[in-house]
């Protein structure tokens, strides 16, 4: 029997390979639970979890909430709009007030990178990062890797390509360390303005040519262009981006091998990914969403069990 090495899930970079394997194994068990007629277990019935969403979300929020309910935890939901945050309350005060009502775990999304790490230093509850600014989105990274693992059986030696807005992507921030830790090879592609300057120090390579990059990879994770995070123009226009880095069926058909396509959602159809690919058999998009619940159940279960 083993336990996670961390009390919080702030980022993949803090986890060891054994932690990742434990999470994947546990997620597999929970995926079985989710196939049953009664998709619920009583494990976390004495736990209260607060979902603090300081930034908009559909998938992640529903996925976390469902995972919590499937584990029989009590949940409270909080979103920044319509709360006292608008009146000027600080993050720490807000969270301490919620914790004063005897909450055991916090799931938090925040637009500032490092917000969950800051909280972890000041409060006692387990914190799970549900995406912080442009830093990390660990449960997305885990569900991406889990979905690939399920399809290919192993991550070792796999060629994994991340396409698009790497600079603003917290998904890339979690995918890159996770896949490297599990022994995969990672390449990124996208317009040079959207690639972080020292990306190669993470152990990945940059290939500006989309076609060459696709020829290399087994799996391509297509990222969303995050216009909301771009305070200046990084690309001339969406049309131009789509022309050079958009993925469509014609392009994929002209590549010599079958590539598995992933997308963390929400998809800008017709920009980074065309419908003829997003809805095709090559796409793992819906499996990713399905696996999200199992992965989040595993993370919640393992962190709660650590006490």
């Amino acid at each position: 029997m083993s336990a996670l090495s961390q009390k919080h899930l702030i980022g993949i970079k803090h986890l060891q390979k054994s932690d990742l394997e434990l999470i994947f194994d546990t997620a597999k068990n929970f995926k079985d639970v989710l196939q049953r007629p009664i998709k619920k277990v009583p494990s976390l019935r004495d736990i209260t979890i607060a979902n603090l969403f300081f930034e908009d979300s559909t998938r992640t929020r529903i996925s976390f909430e469902l995972a919590e309910k499937r584990l029989s935890a009590d949940t409270i939901n909080f979103s920044a709009s319509g709360s006292s945050v608008k009146k000027g309350e600080t993050l720490l005060d807000t969270v301490n007030n919620i914790l004063a009502m005897k909450v055991d775990m916090i799931v938090m999304r925040h637009s500032s990178s490092g917000a969950p790490a800051f909280l972890a230093k000041h409060i006692n509850a387990n914190i799970i990062n549900a995406g912080d600014g442009t830093h990390e989105h660990p449960t997305q990274g885990l569900l991406d890797a889990f979905s690939v693992l399920e399809k290919f059986g192993t991550l070792k030696g796999l060629n994994y390509l991340i396409i698009g807005d790497i600079k603003h992507s917290r998904v890339a921030g979690s995918d890159i360390p996770l896949l490297l830790k599990m022994g995969a090879k990672v390449k990124v592609t996208g317009p040079p303005t959207l690639i972080p300057k020292y990306i190669e120090e993470l152990g990945v390579t940059y290939e500006p040519n989309l076609r060459k990059a696709l020829e290399w990879c087994d799996v391509a994770n297509v990222l969303r262009i995050q216009l909301e995070r771009m305070d200046i123009k990084f690309i001339p226009s969406l049309r131009e981006y789509s022309l050079y880095y958009g993925i469509n069926k014609e392009l994929l058909d002209s590549i010599s091998k079958d590539i598995t396509i992933m997308h963390p959602g929400p998809i800008n159809r017709g920009v980074e990914l065309n419908s003829d690919v997003a809805d095709s058999k090559q796409s793992l998009v819906l499996q990713q969403v399905e696996n999200g619940v199992a992965i989040r159940m595993a993370v919640l279960y393992l962190l709660a069990g650590r006490g």
């Binding site: 083993s2 336990a3 996670l4 068990n29 277990v41 009583p42 494990s43 976390l44 069990g305 650590r306």
Partner: protein, 179 residues
């Protein structure tokens, strides 16, 4: 550390045979009956029983499953680390069928309490019975008793009962160990 043999190889196979015959006596051809081993160690016993039942009565019609109870335990968060789960393999409905739960050792009864909870998530069985190899009577925390018992023993709480299997340890044997 002291240890002594509770059941040796010969007794072991006789006990398994007796339990099988008791099951046949009650269920005859096992119509509408499922034998379910509680993971991880009850499964090993269940597999042995299933194998022997097929030898004694080849037309037995029971279904066989494995049940993991990790997520249903009541001592979650009391052990300081999470409990690692095992596979559950019940690919049939147990709605309106008879279930024989199989575990190696019955001690406090808490495992079986969890198993009863877990089994209800697969449907409503007509009846559930319990088969155990060793019953450590006098230590029950809950009002739970077995219907088929390999051997009843009196033990103290500092003692441990260990079941060894031909497949994994080389010999079928049950030990009682005082640490």
């Amino acid at each position: 550390m002291q240890k002594r043999v509770l059941i040796d190889s010969l007794q072991f196979s006789l006990t398994i045979d007796r339990l099988c015959h008791q099951l046949i006596e009650h269920y005859s051809n096992f119509e509408n009956t499922a034998i379910i081993g509680v993971q991880p160690r009850g499964t090993q016993l269940a597999e042995r029983i299933v194998k022997r039942l097929h030898e004694i009565q080849p037309d037995s019609k029971f279904k066989f499953g494995k049940l993991d109870i990790t997520f249903y335990r009541d001592d979650f968060r009391q052990k300081g680390k999470p409990l690692t789960a095992n596979e559950t393999a019940i690919d049939f409905s147990i709605e309106n069928s008879n279930v024989v739960l199989v575990d190696d050792v019955l001690y406090t009864g808490r495992t079986i309490r969890s198993a009863l909870d877990a089994i209800l998530d697969f449907g409503r069985p007509t009846a559930v019975e319990l088969l155990v190899l060793i019953d450590r009577r006098m230590h029950r925390n809950l009002p739970i008793e077995a219907n088929y018992i390999g051997k009843e023993i009196d033990s103290i709480t500092t003692e441990k009962v260990k079941v060894e299997w031909k497949e994994t340890e080389g010999k079928d044997k049950v030990w009682i160990i005082n640490e």
